[in-house]
Subunit: 369 residues, 2 copies
């Protein structure tokens, strides 16, 4: 493909990024809170995941063509962290309506700016360890998606029979861009049970659906008009009132849109769907255990902050924000201390952190959420 | 023995308590600190151990005959907690010189007040679960010690081959007071290795030396004059300057006394030593693991504070002072959080907490000591 530039005449002058940063995950409690969800944590590198998501687009999408959709809890923090992005392009949604309404809102904004606009939907809270490979896959996907009617999934080659993700089934080859194969997608699947997930992985015909989609804004809007006409009308109404610039209309109309994911609303119903498979070092960092796996460890397998002292410990992830932490003779624990809250969890049980947060909600201990 | 009263004519009108509260133990870190050693912790009941020590003497030694020897770090706190004890009788030692100099200083004070004074040396940081049995044993010891020349040890029947304590070997019966046998002590032993400790326990001829001694003040001073003449002279010099009331003399002269325990200085060298064995529910609470054993537990064997939430946890001791603590899937841990410091320790490793504190000292992180 040769070196790409950001000049308006480049192949990517019509590419816009739509970063989905509305997540309010509970799985990194007590570090993650309503006001500091996973995408705003700094434990996965020198900067937050949302900053990394923007940084990773360098050379493909310039800041002026990046949009971020988030919630009111974290909007100000994101604006502060990303001064290179126009404040009007960092949108606090007045209500959580899942991904389809957000993507539709973004599509109208992009279409207004650029009738040939191609939008790349990108989650803000994933780790991608091979950014160059990501950019290469993204560029291929954007080129392929430039043709009207096409929807492209940037999927991940599965490395384990994960039951927590959706999968896409690959079909016939559809083309090649640079060194990147484009394949037809036969089917979107829901999260499979373990035996099925094992078959998916063994077949080599499946990719993980990581929530990264690329298509022309016009294609998305046409697909919504055809398959989700009610939502399409609601989105047109918002667009007619000024879209993301009319805060009042947004507050009134956006919460009325159906709360539905783009997967259910569209992807499972579309025919012209293609996949680009990326070996991009991807992880959705879905639990403290995964954060442990991704982190640099000392010779005893401990992930350890500076203000701590360990005697005969191994395999622990230690996060200590306020306290001097001493550990003695403990193994395979997640210990996270934030001043007001403290988690001590067996590493193999870290998928249950969300359960604890749910209990805290039930107990109405809101200051810990 | 019948009911005792505190009238000056009672059998115990000459009994004085000398509570040894100078300890600066590290084994309950991070709850215990220089300014809040074990005797000032409230985790072993509704009050601190030193308050319990005073309370336990009710009916035997009235407050006006109780002396407390402690250090400058905690003096003010002890004065505040024990308003019933005259401030002049709560003495901050200007230097830590181990037990012999302290006991000698106390002996001169008591002798000055009461030539027939009998002094009971009692540690401030032990748990005694059967206070009535303790008082009964103490009374017998005090009566026996009323005869000049006698030294009495209130010893504990060993329940396990503990290698962390000294033992006393019992000899021939010497008498009986009430239902309390008085036996001769043949020998004081140092902390034994495990095989020897096992033999001690099996023989039933040994008691644990818990640091509780009873004798006439005059007997103690005579023994020091004979066996520790240099220390005896130093103590006489302090007494001539006004003893505990002359702070300046104490500051100058007390630190010059030899730093030595009463066990080494005297007990191992004396012949007229007797023992009273007490089944008094004694524990020196030498580690977090022992504190766990002594505490009330929920049905999963957790010792748990109010501000915590546990999912699938068992056998943990949880102390949480500042943070809301969530534990998931962890067993047999000691977790202690104090705002500035946090300990997570395998219960079976709690004897190594002191080692961690030593490392903190080496690192010169004094604010955590």
């Amino acid at each position: 493909m040769g070196k790409e530039t950001n000049s308006p005449n480049s192949a990517f002058a019509h590419v816009y990024a739509v970063i989905m940063a509305g997540g309010s995950g509970t799985r990194f409690w007590p570090l993650s809170r309503r006001k500091r969800p996973k995408q705003l944590l700094e434990i996965f590198g020198k900067t937050t995941l949302i900053e990394q998501t923007v940084e990773r687009l360098k050379g493909v999408v310039p800041p002026e063509r990046i949009y971020i959709f988030t919630n009111e809890f974290v909007h100000a923090d994101i604006v502060r962290r990303l001064p290179q992005i126009l404040k009007r392009q960092i949108v606090a949604e007045p209500a959580q309506r899942n991904t389809a309404p957000t993507i539709g809102l973004a599509a109208h904004e992009i279409l207004r700016r650029d009738p040939a606009g191609v939008m790349a939907i990108l989650p803000a809270d994933h780790v991608i360890k091979k950014p160059a490979a990501f950019r290469s896959a993204l560029k291929a996907a954007c080129r392929w998606a430039g043709t009207p009617g096409r929807s492209v999934v940037l999927g991940i080659e599965p490395t384990r029979p994960e039951t927590g993700y959706g999968y896409v089934r690959l079909g016939a080859p559809a083309g090649r861009i640079g060194n990147q194969d484009i394949l037809r997608v036969e089917k979107f699947t829901e999260k499979p049970k373990l035996p099925l997930a094992r078959r998916y992985v063994a077949s080599k015909r499946y990719l993980w659906n990581a929530g990264m989609f690329i298509w022309r804004a016009s294609t998305l809007i046409e697909n919504l008009q055809r398959l989700q006409p009610q939502m399409a009308r609601g989105l047109e109404e918002i667009a007619a009132e000024g879209g993301i610039d009319n805060r009042r209309a947004l507050k009134k109309l956006f919460p009325r849109l159906e709360k539905i994911s783009i997967d259910y609303a569209l992807m499972e119903k579309l025919s012209e769907v293609f996949a680009v498979a990326g070996d991009i070092g991807w992880s959705d960092v879905g639990s403290w255990a995964v954060a442990y796996e991704l982190s640099a460890k000392d010779k005893h397998g401990n992930v350890q902050p500076g203000n701590s002292l360990s005697i005969d410990c191994a395999g622990n992830l230690l996060v200590s924000r306020r306290s001097f932490l001493v550990t003695i003779g403990v193994e395979n624990l997640i210990i996270v201390e934030t001043g007001d809250a403290l988690l001590v969890c067996a590493r193999e049980r870290s998928q249950d952190v969300g359960k604890a947060v749910h209990e805290i909600e039930q107990l109405k201990m809101n200051k810990f959420l």
